[in-house]
Subunit: 209 residues, 2 copies
DNA sequence: GTCTATAAATAGATAGAC
DNA sequence: GTCTATCTATTTATAGAC
């Protein structure tokens, strides 16, 4: 990430990055194989180590790109002059957009949750906290204006990203379940985002308990 | 997992099972190491292969135990004579209980979601479908009685397990984030379960959109 | 049932030519 | 920048003794 495109390099760094993201998403950190990454990038292992110090550094670069993108989306929403309810809607939409621009995003995030952020370095952790802080700011703004109830930002965030990652990551699995027997459960991307937006606002507007 | 306890075996199979569950939870399928599993079980690798055909079979046994437990909990709820709203509450509670009885459950489930059920065999898939079918049955019962709105069971299920696994799996990570800076976000187990119960019922009772 | 020893394959990482 | 060749460590799995 961040570097002039197609100069002498002919984009080999970008190819490594993309191939690695797909590999880490499919196999997890420990299960990812440097040789497979090289082949998928139409290069060889040595080229990976030319661009990245080692496996861990390569993975960290991918994590940083993911959470950096989320932070960027969210920061734009927080800085906008929109009313709090609309900010919440765009907050959800922004996370969905950052995730959809990166097919590896939902699987990697789910795996990272599973291992308690094992590979999350300080810089990435900062991004994560910024996102949570921005959400907290929107909630506080809504409270001051009397349109939101007090809600724990962590609960809210869990209610947003958990179902979102679930849906985006399981498109394939859901098809597998459907094929195995009768359970018509296809749900479109827009339906999901709209649903999560409504669910989040219902909490903030005190329509839940 | 099904088998007479402490006969000649002195529970070595159970020790392998437990150690493997912890290892798969921490490292994922590909990252799990048979030698580490053996050491954690205070045995050697050969004993793993005495009890289980290979790594894949060992993992499958753990998956089956997990989803079998969920199915058992859920089936009891569905068969009870309780009113639909209470069934939904106990459905959520039952899944939480099955997960809490197995510390490896949330991480493994999240990872399995991440890779689209790569290691889910036909028998386990059957359990998963049974759980979803049971939920659909409760929803239909509520609709017939006029207390529930029509809701896609997959959406409902996602809204339950995704946040639940998120919270149960990230207790450690959330602490890490808190330590790194100010964001008071500790949430208790009961708060989470109650929250998810209310959220689910709010959807079914049409209080969302 | 439980162990040691080891086969056979695969992994991450680097040296050095071009 | 890109490659081949290779070192070294690790890993799944099995053979065979007790």
């Amino acid at each position: 990430m961040a570097r002039p495109k197609r100069t002498p390099t002919a984009g080999s760094r970008e190819r490594v990055f993309a191939a690695a993201a797909a590999e880490f998403a499919a196999k997890g950190y420990a299960g990812a194989n440097m040789d497979r990454i090289a082949r998928a990038a139409r290069l060889n292992k040595a080229m990976i180590y030319y661009h990245f110090k080692n496996k861990a550094a390569l993975y960290r670069a991918i994590l940083r790109d993911m959470f950096g993108a989320v932070r960027t989306e969210v920061a734009a929403v927080a800085a906008s002059g929109l009313e709090p309810g609309e900010k919440i809607r765009r907050y959800v939409e922004g996370i969905a957009r950052a995730a959809e621009a990166r097919p590896h995003f939902p699987p990697i995030w789910l795996r990272e949750l599973a291992e308690g952020g094992e590979h999350v370095d300080a810089a990435t952790l900062e991004y994560v906290r910024d996102v949570l802080t921005a959400l907290g700011g929107i909630v506080n703004e809504g409270r001051r204006r009397g349109v939101f109830q007090p809600v724990n930002p962590m609960m809210l965030q869990a209610g947003i990203i958990a179902p979102l990652m679930f849906f985006l990551a399981t498109a394939r699995l859901r098809q597998k379940i459907e094929r195995a027997g009768p359970s018509p459960l296809a749900v479109s991307r827009d339906t999901i985002v709209a649903h999560i937006q409504r669910l989040t606002l219902a909490q903030l507007e005190g329509r839940i308990s």
